[in-house]
Amino acid sequence: MAEPLIFELSSPGRRGTVWPACDVPQQPLETLLPAARRAQPPRLPEVSELDVVRHFTRLSQMNYAIDTTFVPLGSCSMKYNPKVNDRIASLPGFAQLHPYQPAETCQGALEVLYRLERGLAEVTGMADCSLQPSAGAQGELTGLKIVRAYHAAQGHPRKVVLIPDSAHGTNPASAALSGYTVREIKSGRNGLVDVAALREAMHGDVACLMLTNPNTLGLFEREILQITAILHEHDALVYLDGANMNAMLGLVKPGTMGVDIIQLNLHKTFSTPHGGGGPGAGPVAVVQKLVPFLPTPRIERQGDRYVWNDRHPQSIGRVRSFYGNAGILIRAWAYLVAHGREGLVKIGRMAVMNANYLRARLAPHVELPYGRTCMHEFVASLAALKPAGVTTLDVAKRLLDYGFYAPTIYFPLIVSEAMMIEPTESESKETLDAFADALIAIIDEARRDPELVRTSPHATAVRRLDEVQAARQLDLRWQPAPGEKASR
């Protein structure tokens, strides 16, 4: 059943909020705002509180989410989001704190942020960390600004960033936004960086390599030490896209691989709720020589007190307002404290084990173009279904009928009919088995009854949606029907 738009539930004069009467002496509006007053009220819905509750509850019921089902999206680390973290972030002592309060009134919050910085630096094997970036892509931008500042400080800001063809789209977009030219490095036949091609691409104007490790095929770069050494020979830097950090938690530290900069997606590896597309947080950790370039302000410990300091002349400056998405950072701190040393190792191990188990269960039924084993995710190709006229998109949609969210599809771009699957450590063997059974059943359906798969989903709130029409006949907001009164 379709849910009407909230605007369609509107009835003139109905209201959902009442404010207290004004208790101060009032002046005429015309005196306070002599000009530039609003002439027409915005067409907000006029609904009761119960209308609001039912409307948004019904909308929520049309969503698949971690709390309702398995979400095996590759490179997204859709793990369980512990409820205690939400509770902690909403304590008034954190949620009702103003960013411009004197530091002496925020010591608890500053301690949380400081300890999170130290914890993330330890987990990544880096010297220091800034929590400021709002999400992964802003972390990438921050990292690249640091690369630029580092080379500029040496008198030669370089021009080129090398990016493997299996990288996330944010990598080239962030590099371009930072004023760099992107040069793509082709993957070798084994899905890994072609070290010879990398060596050939190196020159004095290469600023850095943006590497994802494990890469988006779920493979660990075996030649990682050679790769980072090649960059360092030219005083170029190695930027690691930490989107896939979940695979490495407690098992290997990026700092020991020769990585100079890494961003962490706390809404992936550190379990903060994805929120249907944010908020996230994208802290950036760096090696010692890059610490002076981190964004300001920085938290500093002076004796047993914490303060904000923005006097860092070599800093790239601010990348956002205030100090970062503090409410998200507090959740990540809680996750780190709860797990501790052994807990983090267990996450890394179980993320890898679950992915390999699911991979092994699917191996007889799908093409697995790369590797014998994987780290935290793997990529299957469903190109074998093409003769039956069934695409990966069709299979993804059919999975929704089986009650599962679909894996990432058509990515990475180097695999045809790709399906990128990441189960995370949260899922039980039973869930993985049920998912594998569903995918195997769908592959069978694709051969026996391709039409069933091609016309899926059948059991969702809506049937397959027409994306072409959405783009051709743009409809991006509600407007009252012609003839209806434009404004009340």
């Binding site: 909230i6 605007f7 109905r14 909020t17 009442v18 207290p20 208790d23 306070l32 530039a36 609003r38 002439a39 067409r43 907000l44 909308l59 929520s60 969503n63 698949y64 793990k79 902690i88 008034p92 002592g93 009702q96 704190l97 103003h98 925020c106 608890g108 919050a109 301690e111 949380v112 709002s134 931008l141 290997v252 809404h267 994805h274 929120g275 249907g276 597309g277 944010g278 601010r318 307002s321 205030f322 100090y323 970062g324 503090a326 409410g327 501790g340 807990g343 996450i347 890898v352 092994a360 084993t373 780290m375 397959r464 994306e467 959405a470 783009a471 743009l474 409809d475 991006l476 907001r477």
Partner: protein, 452 residues
Amino acid sequence: MDYVANTTTQEQQMLRAIGVERFEELLSDIPASLRNPTLALPAGVAELELVSRAKALARQNRCAEELDSYLGAGMYEHHIPSVVDALANRGEFATAYTPYQAEASQGTLQAIYEYQTLICELTGMEVANASLYDGASSLAEAALVALRVTGRRRLLVSEAVHPEYRQVLRTYLDGNGWPVEEIPAPSGITDRAEIAQRLSHDVAAVIVQTPNFFGCVESLAELGEAAKRRGALFIVCAYPIALGVIQPPGVASADIVIGEGQSLGNPISYGGPTLGFFAAKQELVRRIPGRLAGRTVDAERACGYVLTLQAREQHIRRDKASSNVCTNEALLALRATIYLSALGPQGLRELALLNLQKSHYAHSRLRQIPQVTAAFAQPFFNEFVIQFADSVDTQRLEQRLLEQGILGGVSLGRWYPALKQAWLICVTETKTKAQIDRFIDTLAQNVQVAHG
């Protein structure tokens, strides 16, 4: 503690199914010298211990529940109706992914479509995206759109735009060689003569904020006309609650309207998470950053929602994308949608009027204190600047107010040396007359003590 479900027995079964004897075999691609590093971290704790520790730390903060706070400057303390938390905290919303599989994400997508509509209504614009990180990065993204669309190089930014937003703009543009010129606002609003003088045909955008950082309402129409005459884009950073009573920037020729949406049902939360909103004229729709939800039909011609115009975005266009943004602030946009739905047009207007009246009451009382003067004589919304006489030790005053449980205002000297004796004071609907009176009486008493 951890949240892993598999038992040791299952681990053994899984290793057998994978075809390895020991887990370590799965890590054979990692150079041996790098494997299994030491982690200098404490042992984990149970939920009970975690909560006690967090509460102890939270108690070390003196928050708005305990203190009477008049701080604003970009983050505002507003009442949040209970429905916002009750609905937005539902796991179906909070733990959903970005709605790439539209059929399994109709709740999120329809809410974004409703949010886009509400932002258009508030700002008077034609299209709005699904959100960006915060007001600051939205401003930088808007400037980038202007630079690309006009092919010009100069940006004129009012000094009365939030100082941190201007810092972020500089960080985003650094390395690309685009000069940012700051236009003074000595009377509390942007100097129009200075704009007129600098506004030549190589200016990509004129950027102002309303109510601006000092709380003053800018005369948008004039600035918008001037920008238009020179072919520059007019970018306005707006405070959404104020738009309940002040003219929407869309009426004043704005090409892009951005701002911080925290006020729309989101806690101040020590400065984040924040909600960047971004609205524009229809003609810019293919140039704007961020996600867009669009209405379409399904295979049975029933109405449904999808992400659309994705060819602008990084996962399709890579280095040619309109922005690198991926994860945005969907849950905060949902909260804004619930908030504005609960308020309705009448509720929003009344809220704006409460803010307007209460801040003016505080302002008129403060001006009666001999050592206090109003810094500017401009119309303002819920925030204003006062100047203390040079003899007043404002740091000491701040301390004395704090001792009596009051956060008096944001000191402006750190950003504006000429305003080193000035405070930015914000009064929202959350303050009663009794609170305001106590604040001002306390300030009046202590300004004398802090004197000299």
